[in-house]
């Protein structure tokens, strides 16, 4: 929620870049002149063949015939939005990947180093799921009994992990939900 608000704030505040509007006229081949594309950043009311096609490759009476074939379109975009969105998306993806690597690879190694091998063997519930750090967290929480924010965060994280485990079991292992 906070992230979405941040995104919308960023998007609202990025200044309009003058390069972000353009009028694009595509003119097909006419007589001996080959096809050309003309780009100019003009406003919407000037977006027609006469203003954008410069230099005009034909003379006099042919100008009208040439311009009839050309198709002019006005386009605008917001380059700041694109840049901001992609960078925010990549950072969120990067954070998730780091957290995933931490959960699956680093945490067991760290806990094993802190608590020794014996504690991790006593897994209570799941057989097919490697969650050795679940037990280690219990040991941690039992040792410190002050009810502060850190403890609560740990408990919440534990609860979340158990929920995800349950979900994983019903979706991936028993195929009960979501085929």
């Amino acid at each position: 929620l906070v992230l979405a608000l941040a995104v919308s704030l960023v998007l609202a505040l990025t200044p309009a870049n003058s390069e972000d509007i353009r009028c694009k006229c595509i003119c097909p081949p006419y007589k001996e002149i080959e096809g050309q594309i003309y780009n100019q950043n003009v406003s919407l009311k000037d977006c027609n063949c006469l203003h954008v096609v410069e230099p005009m490759p034909v003379e006099g009476k042919d100008v009208e015939a040439y311009c009839l074939r050309c198709e002019c379109k006005y386009e605008e975009r917001s380059s700041g939005t694109i840049k901001g969105t992609i960078i925010i998306y990549l950072s969120v993806l990067g954070l998730l990947l780091l957290y995933m690597v931490y959960l699956t690879l680093l945490e067991p190694i760290l806990k094993r180093r802190l608590f020794g091998h014996s504690q991790l063997i006593q897994n209570d519930d799941d057989v097919g799921d490697q969650q050795p750090f679940a037990n280690a967290h219990d040991v941690l929480s039992r040792s410190r009994s002050r009810p502060n924010v850190l403890n609560k965060v740990e408990h919440a994280q534990q609860r979340w992990r158990r929920q995800v485990q349950e979900q994983r079991k019903s979706v991936f292992d028993r195929h009960v939900v979501l085929s």
């Binding site: 979405a4 917001s78 979340w160 995800v164 979900q167 009960v176 085929s179």
Partner: protein, 768 residues
């Protein structure tokens, strides 16, 4: 109806202060009397009367002081605030998804050197070096082979591009499936079957949670960018419903009442479809027709509001650079002719046939995934399918690019300025009129080549989508079905166009086509084909037509679209009554009571439990059961509720009590009340029974008793019973004869009976 006083509604300060503070957020939520367990159905009647109570209390209090009046106004407005927030967040997320997909799809082929965050089209936007002949190329955007080796042409560069394309596709899909597996397993699949079930009253905890929202958004981008044959519309509905659930928790009016919450979720689903297609009205109709179960009129206006806000937010983010909401917005103004209805109806038949084929194939494959070894290797399956898709898709230029771009090209008409092979018509250089007027022209060799490639792409897409939908990554099927239909439609359109050109002296064409005049628009055929295939798979009717004409802006094409949609639905219904979403609901065994008529002549006695050879009904008596008996009953059976009768001899019905409420009440009583031991008598009457003073203190549980359970007599026809279950949203119904309790019918029994009547496997109904 006398209400079972479960929960006293929160005091007004708690209601306004819905968010609580951080510590409460981290605490485990205490299960309350009146909440539901996971994978159970809600009691619609109870939720409705709780809401009426709450509203009555607020209205009553609002007369007391100005502050209360203001609070009642805020309560009334909270619904609109929720809709506004849902629209804003869904629009923002949809914009982010669109932009990110645009960029990442192009990342498989090359990169923009001046600014890496630009996709191909954006990179060449400001370039002044595009020529008419290669108007898609510009020097700032280079393919990978060119970047790494400096060569652009040749077999080596082609192979290197091929290899890197496949590598990127595998990388994206591997990331997607690992994120889903580690963080939010509920984020896979389309989401619409489960949302349909949730909206009909089922509870799946965590399905609409915050982590599911985050992971679904992030992995949807990865899944679509990896080139797999899937779309993002279905998952966007799931994302929007997650947003709806998120904002519901801010207001206790919605967070405590499951019935009201589902109204908000219906509106959120409408907002989801609206941003997926840029079709607000179509979104509301889709929510009404496909997703929602109960759709009161109040929800109609609110859904429309949410859909409009979402569409407006998406437009202001402007992902496609030209103020359009969807990539394939086309504007036609060419008329169509009555004789063209014949090919349109043929396209409808094709759509219906393809829909049947897809549903049967996909359900068979998903069933195999559920029951055999295939289901044990989800990550490997995703990687294998991605590999096959990428390897087969790269050589064909029509499958190499993203499916949305393919559809956009197929829908677009050929002007003189199109450079694609599909528009390689032979132009008569001696034409006096400008070439924008498209007369019928003979097809050049480029068109024939494009037709071959399109035919191959059609077969490829038909086969691969069957295996892709339902994998363990977010996957939708609107875009692939539209692609199949668009390819078929375009092929038919070009065929009709060439027939009209080469045989313009046949009678049909003579009246209709004049040389030099507009005759056949293949793009329109592509649109009609897309509508037909989508209708054949999902069995949408009105919402499909509305979405298609909102996509194209052509009101004059309603009749062909309707013809194709109706034909495809008829043809598909001839083979099987269910659309893809209902088929998935049945595959998973969700307790979803369909809106179809039940026409068999069975009676309530045939369905009720206990049957003849089963043990008798487990009941509680109104004043002679002890706490120990109750606990034993709870431990030995797993029924969701127990009827309460007057006494074991007379068996006259008093009421019904839920298992969860019983457990909580007894637990609280043992902890809090003194003198309650295992021998205490449990009573449900108003006054305590006459007992000697030496007996332990009795326990009054009247407040959890539902005094008005629904009853039918044993000779009620099942037609009526099914109707009652469907219209009132019941979970169970008691069967009596002359006042005596005979048995109970639960929703699961009804569903099993219906399945049996239709010769399906009744054991596949899993949930209650």
């Amino acid at each position: 109806m006398a209400e079972a006083e479960g929960v006293s509604s929160a005091t007004p300060t708690e209601e306004m202060n819905g968010a609580g503070n951080l510590m409460d957020f981290l605490d485990e939520p205490i299960p309350d009397v009146g909440t539901y367990e996971d994978f159970h159905t809600i009691d619609w009647l109870r939720e409705k009367s709780r809401d009426t109570d709450r509203h009555r209390k607020i209205t009553h209090r609002s007369k007391e002081s100005i502050w209360e009046f203001v609070k009642s106004l805020l309560d009334a407005w909270s619904g609109w605030v929720v809709m506004l927030l849902i629209g804003l967040l869904s629009g923002t997320l949809a914009g982010v998804i669109d932009l990110a997909v645009d960029w990442m799809t192009d990342l498989k082929e090359g990169v923009c050197l001046s600014a890496f965050w630009y996709s191909h089209e954006q990179c060449c936007w400001t370039s002044n070096e595009t020529t008419f002949a290669d108007r898609d190329k510009c020097p700032q955007w280079q393919k990978w082979a060119e970047l790494m080796t400096g060569y652009n042409e040749g077999a080596g560069a082609y192979l290197l591009n091929y290899f890197l394309y496949v590598m990127w596709a595998l990388f994206f899909s591997f990331l997607a499936v690992s994120l889903v597996r580690v963080f939010a397993p509920y984020a896979c699949g389309s989401g619409i079957p489960e949302i349909k079930t949730i909206l009909s009253g089922f509870i799946i905890r965590g399905y609409l949670g915050k982590w599911t929202l985050l992971i679904k958004t992030v992995t949807l981008v990865l899944a679509v960018s990896s080139g797999l044959s899937l779309g993002k519309e279905g998952p966007l509905v799931h994302v929007a419903c997650c947003c709806g659930n998120l904002f519901c928790s801010l207001f206790s009016k919605y967070s405590k009442n499951e019935g009201k919450r589902r109204e908000v979720l219906s509106a959120a689903a409408a907002a989801g479809v609206s941003v997926a297609f840029g079709a607000p009205i179509g979104g509301v109709l889709f929510s009404l027709e496909e997703v929602s179960y109960y759709f009161p009129l109040k929800t109609l206006w609110r859904s429309f509001f949410a859909a409009l806000v979402a569409a407006f937010t998406l437009r202001s983010i402007n992902p496609f650079g030209n103020n359009r909401l969807v990539l394939f917005y086309v504007e036609y103004h060419t008329p169509w002719y009555m004789a063209e209805l014949v090919p349109f109806i043929l396209l409808g038949v094709f759509g219906g046939l393809w829909g049947t084929l897809f549903i049967r194939g996909n359900i068979a494959w998903c069933r195999r995934r559920k029951t055999t070894q295939l289901g044990k290797y989800p990550v490997l399956e995703v990687i294998a399918v991605t590999g096959i898709t990428a390897i087969l898709a790269f050589p064909n230029p029509y499958t190499r690019r993203s499916t949305s771009e393919l559809i956009s090209e197929l829908f677009n008409d050929c002007g003189a300025l199109e450079s694609s092979q599909l528009c390689d018509y032979i132009n008569n250089p001696n034409m006096s009129r400008p070439e924008d007027d498209i007369p019928d022209r003979p097809a050049g060799p480029g068109v024939y080549m494009a037709l071959w490639q399109l035919a191959l792409a059609l077969i490829f897409k038909i086969v691969i989508t069957i295996f892709t939908f339902g994998m363990k990554i977010p996957s939708g099927l609107f875009i692939p079905s539209m692609a199949v239909g668009a390819i078929a439609g375009r092929i038919v359109g070009i065929a009709v166009e060439q027939m009209a050109y080469h045989h313009h002296d046949w009678i049909i064409f003579k009246n209709w086509c004049r040389p030099g005049a507009d005759c056949v628009t293949p793009g329109l055929y592509a649109m009609v084909g897309a509508a037909a295939c989508l209708g054949g798979v999902t069995r949408m009717t009105v919402s499909l037509v509305v979405i298609m004409f909102e996509l194209t802006g052509g009101l004059e094409y309603i009749v062909p679209l309707m013809a194709a949609a109706v034909t495809s639905k008829w043809v598909a219904d001839a083979f099987g009554k269910e659309g893809i979403y209902e088929a998935h609901i049945r595959l998973n065994g969700y307790p979803y009571l369909d809106q179809d008529e039940f026409t068999h002549r069975t009676l309530a006695t045939d369905v009720m439990r206990p049957r003849r050879n089963e043990p008798p009904l487990s009941v509680l008596t109104q004043d002679s059961t002890t706490v120990e008996d109750v606990e034993m009953l709870i431990k030995e059976t797993d029924y969701n509720g127990f009827p309460v009768v007057m006494s074991r001899e007379s068996e006259r019905l008093i009421g019904f009590v839920q298992r969860r409420d019983l457990i909580l009440a007894i637990k609280t009583a043992r902890q809090k009340q003194d003198g309650v031991v295992s021998n205490s008598v449990v009573y449900f009457t108003e006054d305590a029974p006459q007992i000697p003073a030496s007996n332990p203190q009795p326990l009054k549980l009247r407040r959890i008793l539902n005094l008005s359970p629904f009853t039918v007599t044993d000779h009620t026809p099942m037609e009526t019973v099914v109707d009652i279950f469907r219209k009132l949203g019941l979970r169970q119904c008691l069967v009596t004869r002359s006042g005596r309790l005979l048995g109970i019918i639960t929703k699961k029994d009804v569903l099993r009976h219906m399945a049996q009547m239709m010769n399906q496997d009744p054991e596949s109904i899993m949930f209650n």
